[in-house]
């Protein structure tokens, strides 16, 4: 990695990581979605650095273009209730969990750094045509036939799942407060179930 590449890598990673922090931390969900957009753009930049040009373009088209819009859409669908409230329940457990995750992540990183393997593995050098549409097409339809067909099955399930979840009857808003309180209890009284089923 020369200095220009390093600077580029640093810039893209910074954009991606800052976006991720905003996504998780933002109180306003729209800002969160914008943070996600920045993460996606940063990652597209990293793909470009890895010579995966087609993938970078797709990342921008599909994720930045379609998926983020879908996210924004769901946020609009949820409306003002999507704004997260301060939730004091289990705050201690959350902080302990976050700290444990941070410590174990740093520990793993220290372990990896200490063994000094800067280039992880002697992967073969990238051929000049790597990352173009032609080479992806060739790879996808010769060696990776099976995963390609599997992705077709995955998309099929996504379609059926969307139809199953988005059609059907919606939650009756008049039931909301009572059922809301109940849903966190451990046992379900039969009467409550009946009421829900009839609504």
């Amino acid at each position: 990695m020369n200095k220009v590449e390093l600077a580029y890598f640093g810039l893209c990673s910074l954009i991606a990581l800052l976006g991720a922090v905003v996504t998780v931390g933002a109180k306003n969900p729209i800002r969160g979605a914008m943070g996600l957009l920045s993460t996606i753009i940063g990652i597209a930049g990293l793909y470009l650095m890895l010579a995966a040009e087609f993938l970078a373009a797709i990342q921008l088209l599909v994720y930045a273009g379609a998926v983020v819009i879908l996210f924004l859409f769901v946020i609009m669908l949820l409306g003002p209730s999507a704004q997260s409230k301060r939730d004091a329940r289990g705050a201690v457990a959350r902080y302990v969990g976050a700290a444990a995750l941070l410590v174990s992540g740093l520990g793993a990183m220290a372990l990896v750094m200490r063994t000094k393997s800067v280039t992880p593995t002697a992967l073969p050098a990238v051929p000049p045509q790597f990352g173009t549409i032609e080479s992806i097409g060739h790879e996808l339809f010769s060696t990776a036939l099976v995963p390609f067909e599997l992705s077709g099955a995955l998309l099929l399930v996504a379609v059926i799942g969307a139809v199953a979840v988005a059609r059907g009857k919606q939650v009756d808003p008049t039931l909301l407060p009572a059922a809301d309180a109940k849903s966190s209890q451990t046992s379900a009284p039969t009467a409550g179930q009946t009421k829900e089923a009839r609504s």
Binding site: L48, A66, F73, G137, S151, V159
Partner: protein, 118 residues
């Protein structure tokens, strides 16, 4: 990588320009707010109701179907470029892939998920 340098320059120029225009107009523009100017504008009449109108879940269904078929199109693109070199196996692979998605399309169609009034 180096072929993308002009593109990055364009990005940088666009970002700087957009930022600069906003900054300049905030700094230089006259500010004289009155209560009338601060209310949301609605054709001169008084605003009524809440700020938020809940859109129908049908938008969501349409949007997610769009994303799914968008990804399908993306996967077909490399195939078209390599079509001649792939031969019959490539055609058969894409055929079965398309078959799955045709069934998916038929399914959402007949289920009425593409219809608005239902």
């Amino acid at each position: 990588m180096s072929t993308y340098v002009p593109l990055f320059l364009l990005f940088i120029v666009a970002a700087v320009l957009a930022g600069a225009l906003f900054t300049i107009s905030t700094v230089l523009g006259p500010k004289n707010p009155t209560p009338e100017k601060m209310i949301p504008y609605e054709c001169g009449s008084e605003t009524t109701g809440g700020r938020f109108v809940k859109p129908s879940v049908k938008f969501y269904l349409t949007a997610i179907l769009f994303v799914v078929f968008d990804i399908e199109a993306v996967l077909i693109y490399p195939w078209t470029v390599e079509f001649k070199n792939l031969g019959w196996i490539g055609l058969a692979t894409m055929g079965s892939f398309i078959l799955m998605l045709v069934v998916a399309l038929l399914y959402v169609w007949k289920k009425g998920a593409l219809e608005w009034e239902k």
